[in-house]
């Protein structure tokens, strides 16, 4: 073993020191690939870690939670408490409030400050008077609100401003896990009154009896609870959120692996170069007694060494990048899924394992091909490079055939449905397509050389001729380079096409969907899973204005359907039918659908909801409402791109029948044809004076929505930028290797009269040609990949129909940038080539 290590060090490791710059480039490229994977892994963990809501933290060691859409009647608590078992029940109200001074939205929780003994530690030694505890102006806050006991805190609750006195701050000794929260806590009775909840509770936490004879406590409780009331394990919300986010996380993870795939090609390239350059050495060592297995192991170990160093660098860099990734992921999560604050980024043993398996695993796999090539070299044989490359050229047609087979397989696989809600076959199809493009790369290089030699020679002279011939001459290397860069280009193209298509679709949808003139909601930062309400009188006041044709009162509730969060909404179908715009995928005509919506227990559902739960027109869905399970018939599936959670929409009258709270969460105001928008706006502002509301025009909402959209995809762009960077770094390293490998040829050219300038131009010409080829191949493959992304992966992950759109300007600009950087990547190798000492090189050879 020791002897093997010595031989490995002398023959494999020590020679690496001869080319520190090139090896460093390879390590950095692999390190970047690993860093992206680590960053997304860490950021994903941090983001999902933050879903545990303040309410769940407050629940402490509760076992179960009881809830219902629209809340629970507090009479239920009395029924539960009267059960002859030692259960512990903790009623909760959960809402959000807006800090008047900062505009920050914070969770507001109403708890039983008198009866809930688990909260005693909030108050320390001395419990306040009962009047203070239950006072409507008393709140306790988390340290992050930066308030002291005795200070005043102004909060907007459902559109009304209230002033509170801070009675205490949860410090280090407070309830575990709450010290860092922005939570505002108050007595449940006060919360009910201030939030206009009447006698309703949002939730009851249940702690099961720990002592005495055990029974099926769930069944005991279930028997007491009316139909339509949900009994779930504590922390279900967190699990539901995580489940909902899994597709989003999976897609980001897959996206992060692309840099690694690009890195794998570079490892393949580096080890290939290593094998070719040591061909004679391998032959000699084999003749001296090394086995085939030994040669194989040596080159696999070389790959592992690169992977190990890359993993170490990637782990450190990934931790750094995770900070940015968390911010970007949080923006997407908040915009499309659930409101959350990013959690802590923690590097664990799992992270190290991810980094190592990404770096070492991928590197070793990438090294298998060249290592096997090394093992096949018979003792003392030193095959001429020209002959080897000639053989590579003979394999071009066969590889092209394999490429075609893989492309056909990719098409076939892409037709398969999702597995466990995930587009596994879509990813596989994308992988097959990447494999196909890699196999087609030699044919692309050969074809391009045939096509381009003359024009390139005409433009760049002999440097052009030699560059294009050099590409074909070193086919086994250049085709790997073209494949590597083209994968990065394909990724840029496919993501640009996918995002561009999505953006175009959303823009068109916004144009069509937002038909009302003004939209109103309670002031404060909008949040996807919080639905603050406003006084119903506001809508009546606006509707009474002369300029106003109609007001659509929309009410939203947070629901869980089939274990996934969603939104139950109710609008005025009459108003939507007359003035609004809602486009349906299938089913009866729009007017008919909206007419059906207005009658009976009918709903329309958004496309993501329908896809996620496999629902279509005519199907039924059951929702627990008003103490029973209510069955609704789906009469339409409508296009919606506002979020991925999905909507179930019914008529306002239908919902009020079950949940008789008239307070709307949003208003859509339609003006009369004759009204002047400015005058109408002033009239609405006057009618809602002193009400903290946010009013927006349809244009500003569209602008804002597109801004959110762009922010959402920032991380996608960042990931693809890293993949391109990896490819460019790798290309600089690979071109250097190509220069070193061909130093004899370059030196001969110097003997034959080539100037240093001509040598430099030759290498730049080669990098330019490689960049061009990679761009052409990458755009082609990228467009095919974008079809998989748009119609398979996106559809199966998120359920949106996206209209295909090729964003020419974006793609061309991105490719231009890639092309320029590809040429820039040639500068270093070109200068290495120009500085070669021909006499020394020829003497060495």
């Amino acid at each position: 073993m020791m002897a093997s290590l010595v031989v490995f060090y002398r023959l494999m490791v020590r020679p690496l020191r001869r080319e520190p710059a090139r090896n460093l480039l390879t390590i950095v490229a692999v390190g970047l690939g690993v860093a992206v994977v680590v960053a997304i892994h860490l950021a994903g963990e941090a983001a999902t870690g933050s879903f545990r809501s303040s309410l769940e933290t407050l629940a402490g060691d509760a076992d179960l939670e009881i809830s219902a859409i629209g809340g629970l009647d507090e009479g239920l608590l009395a029924d539960l408490v009267s059960l002859p078992y030692p259960f512990q029940f903790a009623p909760r109200i959960e809402d959000s409030a807006v800090v008047h001074a900062s505009g920050q939205t914070v969770p507001l929780v109403g708890v039983d400050l008198i009866g809930d003994t688990s909260l005693e530690q909030l108050f320390g030694q001395e419990s306040p008077d009962i009047d203070v505890l239950t006072g409507e102006d008393s709140v306790w806050v988390g340290t992050r609100l930066a308030k002291q006991a005795g200070e005043t805190l102004a909060l907007r609750l459902n559109g009304t401003l209230h002033r509170f006195t801070v009675r205490g701050v949860f410090g280090g000794q407070g309830i575990k896990g709450l010290s860092r929260e922005t939570l505002v806590l108050m007595d449940i009775g006060a919360a009910q009154r201030l939030l206009r909840r009447g006698r309703r509770l949002d939730r009851i936490d249940v702690r099961l009896p720990r002592q005495g004879p055990q029974r099926d406590w769930r069944a005991v409780l279930r028997a007491t609870l009316p139909a339509g009331v949900m009994l779930k394990p504590s922390g279900s919300r967190t699990r539901e959120n995580r489940k909902m986010l899994s597709a989003f996380q999976t897609n980001l993870r897959v996206l992060s692996y692309i840099s690694l795939v690009v890195g794998a090609f570079l490892i393949y390239y580096t080890i290939s170069v290593s094998v070719v350059r040591r061909q004679t050495e391998i032959g000699i060592v084999r003749a001296l007694g090394a086995t085939r297995r030994g040669a194989l192991a040596a080159f696999l170990a070389e790959g592992a060494l690169f992977g190990l160093l890359g993993a170490a660098a990637g782990l450190a860099l990934g931790r750094l990048m995770a900070g940015w990734a968390v911010d970007m992921m949080a923006a997407t999560v908040n915009a499309l899924y659930v409101s959350s604050n990013p959690g802590e980024i923690t590097v664990t043993l799992g992270t190290v394992i991810v980094a190592l398996s990404a770096g070492v695993g991928v590197s070793v796999i990438a090294a298998v091909g060249p290592a096997r090539e090394a093992a096949r070299i018979p003792p003392t044989e030193a095959m001429a490079r020209g002959r080897r490359e000639y053989k590579a050229r003979l394999r071009v047609s066969r590889n092209l055939l394999y490429a075609a087979a893989l492309a056909v397989a990719a098409f076939g696989v892409s037709l398969a449905g999702p597995i466990d809600g995930k587009p596994v076959m879509g990813y596989f199809a994308a992988l097959l397509l990447i494999g196909s493009s890699a196999l087609a790369a030699p044919a692309a290089v050969t074809g391009a050389v045939k096509l381009l030699t003359r024009p390139v020679q005409r433009i760049f002279g002999v440097a052009g001729l030699l560059a294009s011939r050099g590409l074909k001459g070193s086919l086994s290397r250049t085709s790997v380079l073209v494949a590597t860069l083209s994968i990065a280009v394909a990724m840029v193209t496919s993501i640009a096409v996918m995002v561009g298509s999505f953006r175009e679709t959303v823009a068109l949808w916004l144009e069509n969907r937002l038909q009302a003139d003004f939209y109103l909601r309670p002031a404060g930062r909008p949040s996807i899973d919080k639905h603050p309400t406003m006084d119903p009188l506001i809508a009546d006041a606006i509707e009474a204005l002369d300029d106003v044709a109609a007001v659509d009162r929309f009410r939203s509730y947070e629901i869980t359907y089939n274990g996934l969060p969603a939104t139950l909404g109710a609008g005025e179908s009459g108003v939507i039918s007359r003035l609004g715009s809602l486009r349906f995928l299938d089913g009866p005509p729009r007017e008919e659908t909206l007419a059906m919506l207005a009658r009976g227990d009918n709903v329309v559902v958004s496309e993501p909801f329908a896809n996620k739960h496999a629902l279509s027109v005519g199907d039924s869905l059951e929702l627990p409402l008003a103490g029973r399970m209510v069955s609704f018939r789906v009469v339409g599936v409508y296009y919606d791109y506002s979020n991925e959670r999905g909507f179930v929409i019914t008529d306002r009258a239908t919902l009020l029948k079950y949940l008789p709270d008239p307070a709307p969460t949003n208003l859509a105001v339609y003006l009369t044809a004759a009204s002047d928008p400015d005058t109408a706006r002033r009239a609405i502002e006057a009618a809602t004076a002193n009400r903290p509301l946010f009013m927006a025009t349809n244009q500003s909402l569209r602008r804002e929505a597109l801004k959110v959209f762009d922010r959402t995809f920032a991380i996608t762009y960042a990931l693809e930028a890293v993949a391109v960077l990896v490819a460019i770094l790798g290309m600089a390293g690979a071109l250097s290797a190509l220069v070193i490998d061909r130093r004899r040829e370059l030196s001969i050219l110097r003997f034959l009269g080539a100037s240093a300038q001509q040598i430099r131009r030759l290498i730049l010409c080669e990098s330019g040609l490689l960049g061009l080829l990679a761009n052409v191949l990458g755009v082609f493959v990228g467009t095919l990949l974008s079809l998989i992304l748009v119609f398979v992966i996106n559809k199966q992950s998120f359920g949106w129909t996206i209209q295909f759109h090729w964003p020419a300007a974006t793609v061309i600009a991105a490719l231009g940038l890639v092309y320029i950087t590809a040429i820039l990547a040639g500068i270093y190798p070109a200068s290495v080539a120009a500085k070669l000492n021909p006499i020394e090189v020829i003497h060495e050879e």
Binding site: A384, R385, G386, R387, E389, Y390, G461, V462, L465, L466, R469, G470, K472, G473, S474, R744, E745, I748, L749, R750, F751, L752, G753, A754, S755, A756, Q758, P838, I839, I842, H843, E845
Partner: protein
């Protein structure tokens, strides 16, 4: 007037920390059209002499005059220009570019010098080395002797005044070697080019007009055949 004149030329360099005196006070005149063989043991300075003569390197002291151009007075671009116009190189291991066909290899010096229409000239010189039918072959499709003849054609294509051949038959069998020496002799005799050939083979050296024997970097003997 000599085409190539070396005046008290010395070439020293550092190798692994110690000074190596590759050439020491060498003076030599080679006339236009003369075929000169440089012989001596390995490491005696034959290749260094050829590199200095071919404007690939500068002497440490002394002067190298190639067609009356003092190489020491030229920069890298000047040396390149001088090589392009006046020097042709032939190597022991042929050094053909594997990615170019025979005729393309031959065209290369002309293309590097900026000429564009050079195919006819390349074919003409290929005919001269009796390999016209191999024009489209890649180097690995040729035998050793054929490769060396292509290399000779490449060295002659731009009608250089000086042809430098470093062990041109060192990697060939006897028959191929004889053919190559014939070709070099004809080059000097028929084309009027000066040929300076480094060789181990005394038999080949005997075919030259002049034999220069080097020993430890110094000229030990100059003998006319």
């Amino acid at each position: 007037m000599a085409l190539l004149r070396l005046e008290n030329v010395s070439k020293h360099y550092q190798a692994d920390g110690s000074a190596v005196r590759a050439l020491e006070d060498v003076s030599l005149d080679v006339a236009q059209g003369e075929f000169v063989a440089v012989v001596g043991r390995s490491g005696c300075g034959k290749t260094t002499l050829l590199n200095l003569a071919g404007a690939m390197d500068f002497p440490t002291s002394g002067r190298v005059l190639l067609d009356a151009n003092d190489t020491a007075g030229l920069d890298d671009a000047g040396l390149t220009e001088l090589r392009r116009r006046k020097v042709g190189f032939i190597f022991q291991f042929f050094q053909l570019l594997p990615t170019l066909t025979a005729v393309e290899n031959i065209e290369l010096p002309l293309l590097l010098a900026g000429q564009t229409s050079c195919r006819d000239r390349a074919r003409e010189i290929l005919r001269w080395v009796e390999l016209e039918e191999y024009a489209a072959r890649l180097p690995h499709q040729l035998s050793g002797g054929q490769m060396q003849r292509v290399a000779i054609a490449r060295a002659l294509v731009h009608s250089p005044k000086l042809v430098l051949a470093d062990e041109p038959i060192g990697n060939l069998d006897n028959a191929s070697g004889d053919m190559v020496i014939d070709l070099l002799a004809r080059t000097a005799a028929k084309l009027g080019a000066t040929v300076l050939m480094a060789t181990h083979s005394l038999e080949a050296a005997e075919r030259a007009d002049t034999v220069v024997r080097l020993r430890d970097g110094r000229i030990a003997e100059i003998r006319q055949s």
